[in-house]
């Protein structure tokens, strides 16, 4: 199940970055992937649609809220957290 979330998040980010999923490393940041603010908003939308969750994210202050977007691994962790909270 955890791997499933990871693969899906990576697929979403890969599509946004126009890269192959295999080229994406967990330690990379969105900046490393060349994803700008519009790309980020679109990726978050895709995550919400894919996992049927609501991501707390305001583009005016990306660091606010509990959704950590600092690295690919952080995003995967944040989505897993949202999923867990939803299922709880």
């Amino acid at each position: 199940m955890a791997d499933d979330v990871k693969q899906k998040v990576i697929a979403i980010l890969a599509e946004q970055a126009m890269l192959e999923p295999s080229d994406i490393k967990p330690t990379q940041s969105l900046e490393d992937l060349g994803i700008d603010s519009l790309g980020l908003v679109e990726a978050i939308f895709a995550i919400e649609e894919e996992f049927d969750v609501s991501v707390p994210f305001n583009a005016n202050d990306p660091k606010a809220g509990d959704f950590d977007i600092s690295t690919v691994a952080a995003i995967v962790g944040a989505v897993e957290g949202l999923k867990a909270a939803q299922e709880a």
Partner: protein, 402 residues
């Protein structure tokens, strides 16, 4: 070149249903932003806006008119009526042929679209009212103002998102200045506070859920508003000859395109429009005492706008005052520059600078005199009104004291 002056002003917005009511609210730093009262509001994550509460269209228009007037057209007509009444002009004969309407709007008849899409998609109806098209079209407001007041000269609608009304007023200014018209009714109107209109903005993740706090370190996004601002622009000698009261002179206008990003603002693009308007007005940078900011309350706009002002004015940037009245009436999108021009007129005529309310904490990236929270008395001879649209289209007007 001919000189252009303002001889009438009208408005309806969340702060008031007339210019005097609106200016009083601005002087008092009153907030017109509140809980939205619209259909399906419970399905929105952003539930506040600068909505005109207690508005009853039946108080102003008859059944036949309501069948043809979307909310954005109604607002435009009410504001135009006030402006034209103040100017004292009636349009007939040669004057009618030399007078037109140029108005800005972004969403046009969005309520009409929203209601009718709902009818056919959600409710499954296969029939819509016969006037859907003439009601929703973006030029409907312009056309109804021209019909109501017999304005037969050049007339059209401008749509450049958040800069629509400044682009429109700039066009009106140029038309009189260059001799294409003697009088222009101009401004902007917007009625986007419907489920679809707010839902679309929500998607972009730039909206605040609690308040519009321009330039404050604690700002967290923009808040939508609605309404209209309309003005009578008139050739100077024409106004003088009939002894009209002159509210202010429209002295300069400049436009620029960032040619960079569809949503992120550019310091260079904004700076070119600001500097261009000052130059076009034929005044010195030091003469500018007040700027009505675009000041949306987003992280990106406010710091970029302050950097642009600092670049253009150098040391004088610390002397002038810059405030965002969006903190009070919200962002009227295609109508915003028109309502905000009222704050410029108030600064020039009454010596009162409208405040930026909701200001909580200084942001080192917005280190200008933003007139926090409380209006101020000051003598100003030149005022600017900034508008920087999504799509990187910038339009800045320069007004001079009459």
């Amino acid at each position: 070149m001919r000189r252009v002056v303002i001889t009438g002003a009208g408005t309806i917005n969340a702060l008031g249903t007339s210019v005097p009511e609106t200016l009083e609210a601005m002087r008092e730093g009153r907030c017109g932003i509140s809980q939205l009262d619209i259909r399906d509001v419970d399905r929105l994550s952003v539930q506040i806006g600068g909505q005109i509460h207690g508005y009853d269209e039946a108080e102003h228009f008859n059944r036949q008119q309501i069948a043809l007037y979307d909310r954005f057209t109604q607002f435009a007509l009410l504001a135009a009526n006030e402006a034209i009444a103040q100017s004292g002009l009636t349009f007939a004969g040669d004057l009618a042929a030399r007078s037109g309407v140029v108005m800005g709007t972004s969403g046009g008849g969005l309520n009409t679209q929203d209601e009718n899409y709902r009818a056919v998609y959600e409710e499954g109806k296969n029939r819509v009212h016969p006037f859907v098209v003439p009601k929703l079209m973006n030029n409907a407001a312009t056309s109804h103002v021209s019909m109501q007041h017999n304005l037969k000269g050049p007339s059209f609608t401008v749509s450049t998102a958040c800069a629509s009304s400044n682009h429109a007023m700039g066009q009106a200014f140029h038309m009189i200045r260059t001799g294409l018209a003697d009088v222009m009714v101009t401004g902007g109107t917007e009625a986007m506070l419907c489920f679809g209109g707010v839902k679309a903005w929500e998607g972009l993740r730039v909206m605040s859920k609690d308040a519009c706090r321009p330039f404050s370190a604690t700002r967290n996004g923009m808040v939508q508003g609605e309404g209209a601002g309309m003005f009578v622009f008139e050739e100077y000698d024409h106004a003088k000859a009939r002894g009209a009261e002159i509210l202010a002179e429209v002295a300069g206008f400049a436009m620029s395109s960032d040619a960079a990003d569809i949503v992120m603002p550019s310091k260079q693009g904004a700076a070119r429009a600001i500097a261009g308007a000052v130059k076009d007005a034929g005044v010195a940078l030091e003469d500018v005492g007040y700027i009505n900011a675009h000041g949306t309350g987003t992280a990106a706009n406010d710091k970029t706008e302050c950097a642009a002002v600092a670049d253009v004015f150098g040391r004088h940037a610390n002397e002038l005052m810059i405030s965002s009245t969006k903190s009070m009436h919200g962002h009227l999108i295609g109508g915003t520059g028109a309502v905000e021009l009222l704050a410029c007129i108030m600064a020039l005529r009454d010596g009162v600078i409208a405040p930026t309310i909701g200001y909580e904490e200084p942001d080192p990236e917005c280190a200008l005199d933003v007139v926090p929270n409380v209006a101020r008395e000051a003598q100003v001879s030149v005022a600017l009104s900034n508008a920087f649209a999504f799509g990187g289209l910038n339009a800045v007007l320069a007004l001079k004291r009459a």
